[in-house]
């Protein structure tokens, strides 16, 4: 009886898992399908690519697909720039949020800086719909000539993920016993020296986790880049949404190929921070 129940349970879990992974499966297989298998106008659904091809990947890096499907040669697409832009803005935005946020988190955790209000208002920022905050930033950016620049995106990514860093790092700092920094001060360190030499090494893991988290957040952004960039600085998610073809209408295969490239880094990084994933996504409220 118990064995039967367990196998039923595992079966149910497997079924749910299949449903949840199907969209990922569809993205990956779509990336390897030739054009005539993208949309089943014939009524046939291609559950697997019949004629798997790398053309879609070639196409998003400026190549023209060979073979019999070369009616596709419309304007060449090149996603390299957008991927580089995404990398630059996400990484530098992460570093900005991390450097500013870590200090603030330490101030709030160790010295209760800003009283109760500061931590509260910082977290509240995460609750505003980004569009409500981004539109005035667009006014400001146009005025400061930061619209459609790398610097503009980096600044805003840093600011938007800053609350996240503060709350997550605060939860890590809270775990460091106060006595540790006090001992360092007794040993002759300055307040800042105690932070750098005795506290910071203890939260190295937390710092790395936070960094990866914030990178994933920035890398995933769509709305901010859509609003704050024009034609010069296009991030990969925005680029993905704009790939269309004059000849065939929709470029499903190329978009899926870029999609596969886009989802790979967060998936790999999430394995590294798997232990802290819940903590990160709950702003440090739930530790596991």
């Amino acid at each position: 009886m118990k064995a039967l129940l367990t196998s039923l349970r595992v079966l149910l879990i497997a079924a749910v898992l299949c449903v949840f992974l199907f969209p990922v499966y569809w993205t990956v297989t779509m990336a390897f399908k030739p054009a005539d298998e993208w949309t089943p106008t014939s009524g046939k659904t291609y559950w697997l690519p019949d004629h798997p091809t790398l053309d879609n990947f070639r196409r998003i890096f400026g190549g023209t697909p060979g073979g019999s499907d070369s009616f596709l040669v419309s304007t060449p697409i090149n996603a390299t720039d957008s991927i580089v832009t995404s990398l630059i803005t996400s990484i530098l935005g992460t570093l900005l949020a991390l450097s500013v946020g870590t200090f603030a988190a330490y101030g709030i955790s160790r010295y209760r800086a800003g009283g109760k209000m500061l931590g509260f208002s910082i977290l509240q920022l995460r609750m505003f719909p980004p569009i409500a905050v981004i539109i005035p930033v667009l006014f400001l950016w146009t005025y400061l000539h930061l619209f459609d620049t790398h610097a503009g995106l980096i600044l805003i990514y840093g600011a938007v993920t800053f609350p996240f860093v503060v709350w997550l790092m605060k939860s890590f700092f809270d775990e460091v016993p106060r006595e540790i920094s006090e001992a360092a001060i007794v040993d002759g360190c300055s307040q800042f020296g105690a932070f750098r030499k005795s506290v910071l090494p203890l939260v190295k893991g937390g710092l790395a986790t936070t960094a990866l988290f914030v990178f994933i957040l920035n890398w995933s952004d769509f709305l901010i880049a859509l609003v704050l960039s024009g034609n010069n600085v296009v991030t990969a998610p925005v680029f993905l949404s704009q790939i269309t073809s004059a000849a065939t209408g929709e470029e499903f295969g190329s978009r899926a190929a870029l999609g596969v490239i886009l989802i790979t880094p967060p998936m790999l990084l999430s394995i590294l921070i798997q232990k802290h994933l819940v903590r990160g996504l709950t702003f440090g409220a739930i530790k596991r």
Binding site: F20, W26, G114, L118, M127, L140, L155, S171, S270, R288
Partner: protein, 321 residues
Amino acid sequence: MEITTDTTTPAGGVPPAGGTRAKPVSPHRHISRLLILPGVLLLLLLVVFPVVMEIYVSLTTWTPTTGSPWYDAYQQWTWFDNYGGGLTSSSFLTAVVRTIVMTVAATGIEFALGFGLALLFLEKFLGRQVATVLFLIPMMIVPAVSGFVFFLLLQTTGPINTILSAILPGTVEARWLTDPTLTPISVVLVDIWQWTPLMFLILLAGLMAVPEDQIQAADILGASWAQKLRHVVLPIVKPIILIALIIRGMEAFKIFDAAWLLTQGGPGEASSTISVKLYREAFQNSQWSYVAALAIVVMIFVSVAASQAIKPLERRQEESA
């Protein structure tokens, strides 16, 4: 926004748990201000200033298309006309109600599914570790990609209808992306797919923390499965459930990416959430000052809700510190 440091609380904060030495206060206050200074500056530049600007513009009829810079907007002063217009606009109010309904639906279904899954995972089975990791994958998918792939899946001739046709009697030809009653459901569907795993992980963490001996005690007393759940497990997990609901609810309320990528809020405004509505008014209708007023209204609304929602989060962080 409050940015000044609260000078009435001692900057040294609560005395260390085991420490007894009195500390001079001034160097602490100094360093604590120094530590938060860059953060406060960043917030000033990127939040306080734009919001002040937004309030200013919302009191005028300014748009960039008038050709005059934003600081000259006072020439088109209208006081609270934009606010009056927004609060009496049925299309804005509908978008607000729609967003709330979608948020409640998404959060509720994610909770039910996540809780069910977490219960299934509670007892050990072969491959539990692997299955847990696989369930993380949807959360890690970049929203631009999930929007795109659901756009493919939900085509009328797409795989979802094909699968449904195979399971259900008859041929399913649901127009997921063009039928006004179905499009909001499609958007919620993407959210459920992407974020049920988070709900599941949070609740699993909560359920695993229920002390074994309490369950055993209930067993000895002859409690049924449902009684154990209701009287032993739920009271312990309640704070975590609350946090899970708050965090998901507040994220779902912001929903934009899926709605925009699937249907651009359409057909008409059938799947316009607040975020999509604001985006469309700004970038398709160039109603900048109107959007500014709506954004201020939304921020006030969210601030009131947030001040209540944050309390359990804060309490939780302090308790487990």
